[in-house]
């Protein structure tokens, strides 16, 4: 039977450092995403330039943004897990 309250009660000492990392990674991605929008708006013809093995910049940049989101997600999770393990363990000691 499902009755448990979903309010989080877990104690986490790594909140601040995780938030800081999240903000840094967000701005890194934002700059790269904004670059795509900027080129599309101001120099749209550049998106048609061939950049890698006959593929144009629009394809490479668009695909790159999708792949980058996954890679940055993994990096974020790796460090967050480390922070959580380390900082919450320290308190337990």
């Amino acid at each position: 039977m499902i009755h448990k309250n979903t309010v989080s009660v877990e104690k986490d000492n790594s909140i601040k450092v995780k938030a800081k990392l999240g903000i840094i990674l967000f701005f890194v991605y934002l700059i790269i995403y904004a670059g795509f929008v900027f080129i599309g708006t101001v120099y749209p013809q550049v998106l048609g330039f061939k950049v890698i093995s006959g593929l144009n910049l629009a394809y490479v940049y668009g695909m790159g943004l999708i792949v980058l989101a996954g890679v940055m997600g993994l990096i974020y999770n790796f460090f967050c897990t480390r922070f959580e393990n380390k900082m919450n363990k320290e308190e337990e000691l």
Partner: protein
């Protein structure tokens, strides 16, 4: 277009719907508490939740809308894929864990956790309701578009069917059933999209998409003083011509059937090129290529005119890899179909004529969003507005946000978001191949840009078409379920329980949530019928813009700006929501829906995000600073 109904399609469709309802009924029995109904008791595994996120997110807009938009406009449709996925970065890095810490059942709970403000409760619940309803419209439109080819039923029947099934699902179950339905559906959607993409790549690019594909013909014409005076094929009779700016359309007759052709004078000699036409006759009939719809003279289109591989022109590429496919598309010429409507002898004529377009132009932005040739200030602003709304909208969608409360911990919330990014990102990469595949393999129904993915599947056989269509229908069922849970939560939990403080037992809360689900479902059915002709991805873009304008400033500033006040949040939600709704109301799209000339719309923007999102942030900062100062003065 008229579609042949297949028994296999009907059986597969029934199987999917029964499976979804059965699953809902099974889990529905276990839901007895508000926590169970709204948040699945917070006990869902992170990996399951991640795929369920994908199931929630990969709605009709993604599968039907994006594939359709790519099939009709090339890379511009793919911009939605890029923007939708980028939005998950905001969700992961900024929103997922803090929101999990703040919340209980709904987005309103999270916003109100620090303040316990009636203003926030009211504003956030209304905003949740508005965003959910706007997101429901395209799902319903997609449902209607699917049911027509699948079961041979009218559009409105599809909308009513989805509405009724989902109302039943949500009213009997809640978040647990929705989660497992989304998990299964999300997984199946990705598997079959991979299959469809593999079929496209193995087939490669051909000038003749298939044996069943219509063979377009051209007839030589003679012209005097801009008027077509004769044609080379004696079996046709010249009936008249219509000039529209620099284009000439010619009406011919053969064996009692009228047809429309487009005059092409760019070659060595003038020729008439076969076009598709829909004519509303004076006596109230609708003729498709000169005959009633039942005569099945209207057909699927989309083919390649010229294929160049390594500098040589070929008839077919044979099987290709994913990069080779894109390279070859870029060096090919693809025949798209442009639309032109006019009146001829008191009859309303819509012609869909062949419009050969270079792959180079199709594989970069500019076909739908005018940012290159023919760009204006407003068209560029529209492009920025769309990309901004997509980027910021995801993490402000209430039906996505409530999924952070279905997992047991912050870590699980984070991990499930990453699973979602991989699943959704992979699917979005596939949309480019499915959309382009439909474009070159006769997967276009010129009447509806939402049917390209199922029609592409149809070119590979009726079984795949049936599975893909049934899956798309299940996609809609799942997404609509999630949206209705979010909307019913806004009414029953946020408004009735928290804002109006109506005393209710746990079972009364669940019952009221279910009643709210029924009402929201009925509203969605009505709107789904009204918005029938719109591209579903475009409509979802609007929902994203409203969410990003109304909700995101409140979420982000609450999490990252200490001076945020309760009034600042309430005002930001109100101003963001109203401004985005007003801009949409006075946009060319709404004018078109209301039967007014789109060019006369006072606001030439299609997407409101560029104005309404900053307005939401500015309002929050300004009101917070004003109300903060007042509080300080009062305390002195």
């Amino acid at each position: 277009m008229i579609y042949d109904v297949s028994i296999i399609a009907i059986l597969i469709f029934i199987f999917f719907v029964v499976a979804v309802i059965g699953l809902s009924f099974y889990f529905g029995k276990k839901t007895t508490s508000a926590s169970g109904y709204y948040a699945a008791g917070g006990q869902i595994n992170w990996a399951v939740n991640g795929i369920a996120f994908a199931g929630d997110y990969l709605s009709a807009a993604s599968f039907l809308g994006i594939c359709g938009m790519i099939a009709f406009f090339g890379y511009d449709g793919y911009l939605y894929s890029v923007g939708y996925l980028a939005g998950w970065v905001v969700a992961l890095f900024l929103v997922a864990e803090p929101l999990r810490r703040l919340g209980k059942y709904t987005f309103t709970d999270a916003l109100d956790a620090k303040f316990d403000s009636r203003g926030i409760k009211l504003a956030a619940s209304i905003s949740t309701l508005v965003v959910s309803v706007f997101y429901l419209i395209p799902q319903m439109v997609g449902a209607g578009a699917l049911v027509t080819p699948l079961l041979g039923l009218p559009h409105w029947v599809g909308v009513v069917m989805v509405g009724s099934v989902v109302i039943f699902i949500v009213a009997t179950a809640g978040m647990t059933s929705t989660t497992y339905v989304q998990f299964i559906k999300g997984g199946l959607l990705i598997i079959f999209s991979v299959l469809l993409t593999v079929f496209v790549l193995v087939k490669g690019i051909n000038t003749n998409p298939g044996e069943d594909y219509h063979k377009f013909i051209s007839i030589n014409a003679s012209i005097e003083n801009g008027k077509v005076t004769g044609i080379s094929d004696a079996s046709y009779k010249l009936l008249g011509q219509h000039n529209e700016k620099d284009q000439t359309f010619v009406k011919l007759e053969k064996e009692g059937i009228n047809s429309w052709w487009k005059l092409n004078t760019t070659g060595a000699a003038p020729v008439l090129e076969e076009a598709l036409s829909i004519v509303d006759t004076k006596d109230g009939k609708k003729l498709y290529n000169g005959a009633p719809k039942d005569a099945r003279k209207f057909f699927q289109v989309g083919h390649t005119k010229k294929i160049v591989v390594d500098g040589k022109e070929v008839e077919s590429t044979g099987p290709v890899g994913p990069f080779e496919f894109i390279r070859n598309i870029e060096s090919s010429v693809i025949v798209r179909f442009a639309k032109k409507s006019f009146t001829f002898n008191d009859e309303k004529v819509t012609v869909f004529y062949q419009n050969p377009t270079s792959g180079t132009d199709l594989m970069k932005p500019g076909m739908y969003y005018k940012i290159d040739k023919g760009a204006t200030f407003w068209s560029r602003l529209d492009f920025i507005s769309l990309m901004l709304a997509l980027f910021l909208g995801t993490s402000a969608l209430p039906h996505i946000l409530i999924r952070y409360y279905t997992v047991p911990s912050q870590r699980a919330a984070r991990k499930s978001t990453i699973v979602a990014i991989f699943a959704i990102g992979f699917f979005y990469i596939l949309t480019l191949y499915m959309g382009t595949g439909a474009m070159i393999n006769g997967g276009l129904d010129v009447e509806s840009s939402n049917m390209s993915a199922p029609l592409l599947a149809k070119t590979f056989g009726i079984t795949l078409f049936s599975i893909i269509s049934a899956l798309a229908f299940a996609t809609i069922l799942g997404t609509v379920s999630g949206l209705i849970v979010a909307a019913s939560g806004a009414v029953a939990h946020d408004l009735m329980d928290k804002y109006m403080k109506i005393q209710m037992t746990e079972s009364q809360k669940v019952r009221n949530g279910r009643i709210a689900a029924v009402v929201v479902g009925i509203v969605a059915i009505i709107l789904g019928i009204l918005f029938q002709s719109q591209n579903v991805s475009f409509l979802v873009g609007l929902a994203f813009a409203i969410a990003a304008s109304a909700n995101l400033p409140a979420i982000l500033m609450l999490l990252f700006w200490k001076k945020t006040t309760a009034k600042g949040i309430s005002w930001a939600i109100g101003v963001g929501m109203l401004s985005s709704l007003l801009i949409i109301l006075f946009s060319p799209t709404m004018y078109d829906i209301m039967g007014l000339p789109p060019d006369s719309a006072p606001i030439p923007l299609q997407n409101p995000g560029i104005i309404s999102i900053p307005l939401g942030f500015i309002t929050l900062v300004a009101v917070s600073l004003i109300t903060k100062n007042k509080r300080v003065q009062e305390s002195k």
